[in-house]
């Protein structure tokens, strides 16, 4: 997994890539929590993620909880159909704001 963080319109855009599995999730978790600590809204771009398992999803859940505790927000962008099915199974689609692409996320559109 490689990743990039950039600032767009006052938000932090975190782009995760590749497979986020048991081996890679700790790295994703550290990155996400570091971003949340910067007290800006975080958009997590998953468009280049080829696979995400429960450990990766758990990292997103923890980061969302941290963001809410700090009064900021964390939303997801371009969740793959595979991941979306898992989100729906665990009803996480009711917890996260999920946007189809970055433009929609920046505009605040679902």
């Amino acid at each position: 997994m490689s990743e990039a963080v950039r600032e767009v319109n006052g938000n932090l855009v975190v782009s995760l890539t590749g497979e986020i599995d048991l081996d890679r999730a700790p790295e994703a978790r550290r990155l996400l929590l570091d971003c949340v600590k910067r007290s800006k809204d975080v958009l997590v771009d998953l468009s280049a993620v080829t696979y995400i398992d429960s450990s990766g999803i758990a990292s997103l859940v923890e980061a969302l909880q941290w963001a809410k505790q700090r009064g900021t927000d964390l939303c997801l962008v371009a969740v793959s159909p595979q991941a979306l099915r898992v989100f729906e199974l665990a009803r996480l689609d009711k917890v996260f704001a999920i946007h189809p692409d970055l433009d929609a996320a920046l505009a605040g559109e679902n």
Binding site: L22, A25, P26, D53, S54, S55, A58, V61, E62, A90
Partner: protein, 294 residues
């Protein structure tokens, strides 16, 4: 024993099979209990293994999950021959396989959450917070949210089964084994567990092997059914093929279900107690006559 009747051509032979059993033979002492088992399971498939008591289905499952070693033959899971794989390879493989045991196999000294986290503790270096969230996610999936702090002794039979499923799927296995998921459950709980199995395949694209003697459950969830009889594969077919089979042993299996479905509790009770049937109840009257004839 007569030659094995391989009735159908539906036994998948694919290079990417997630389960491939070849020439499997097993013995308990001098008694042979599995004979020349050949079986494959395709990715994303739900394979149900059925058979009556003593058919060998539980023994086959024990070989599939590595609890028993065969006398001869091989068992390949996700490309790894578990009868020959070195310990390190087996350890890697176990991260990709889940097993929901019939009795749950929960540790009585641990609460539900710790039971579910156990595979994560054993096989990963994840921090505790991530493990807890993963375990709670799986409790949501199996509809056991809020049961984290309960001890196994405080759970109903259905809850134990669901907790066992949560533990089996906590690492998102590619291959999941169920041992008699419906055993001991009332029909509604059993049906809900079947729905869960279907959802797991749909959402997580798991390949699933279910050992059961429950025909209703098998017909609901199976892509294909393997019928075992006296340690041999009688047939491997889809649900429609099993239903229309003219094999006498398979028909016996189906008819056993029909007999069970037709039991009328009141009539049966009257028959046992010798109580007179209500006027105008031909079924009960007939039963009395039958009883009288005996």
């Amino acid at each position: 024993m007569a030659a094995v009747a391989q009735e159908t051509p539906t036994q998948t032979r694919t290079d990417d099979a997630v389960v491939r059993i070849q020439g499997l033979q097993a013995h308990y002492g001098a008694r042979q209990v599995l004979h020349d088992i050949e079986l494959t399971v395709a990715p994303g498939e739900i394979m149900v293994i059925m058979g009556g008591s003593g058919s060998g289905k539980s023994t086959l499952l024990r070989h599939l999950v590595g609890l028993m070693r065969p006398t001869a033959g091989s068992v390949e899971l996700l490309g790894v021959d578990i009868t020959r794989a070195p310990a390190l390879e087996m350890q890697r493989l176990r991260r990709r396989i889940g097993v929901a045991f019939q009795g749950g196999a929960l540790f009585s000294s641990m609460n539900v959450l710790d039971n579910i986290m156990l595979p994560l503790r054993e096989h990963t270096q994840l921090d505790r917070q991530t493990m807890e969230i993963m375990a709670r996610l799986k409790l949501e999936v199996v509809n056991l949210a809020g049961a984290e702090d309960l001890m196994p002794a405080e759970l109903s039979g259905g809850m134990v089964k669901r907790a066992a499923v949560a533990r089996a799927i906590v690492m998102d296995p590619a291959l999941l084994f169920f041992d008699e998921p419906s055993a001991g459950l009332d029909p509604a709980v059993s049906s809900a567990l079947d729905d869960l199995i279907l959802k797991l395949r749909e959402a997580m694209n798991m390949s699933i092997v279910v050992v059961t003697h429950e025909l209703e459950s098998a017909f609901k969830i199976a892509d294909r059914i393997t019928v075992l009889d006296q340690g041999r594969i009688l047939t491997v077919d889809d649900v429609a093929g099993i239903r229309r089979s003219d094999n006498a042993r398979i028909q016996n299996l189906l008819n056993r279900r029909a007999e069970n479905a037709e039991v009328d509790a009141e009539t049966y009770l009257r028959r046992l107690t010798g109580e007179a049937a209500p006027a105008g109840d031909p079924q009960a009257a007939g039963t009395k006559q039958d009883a009288g004839a005996v």
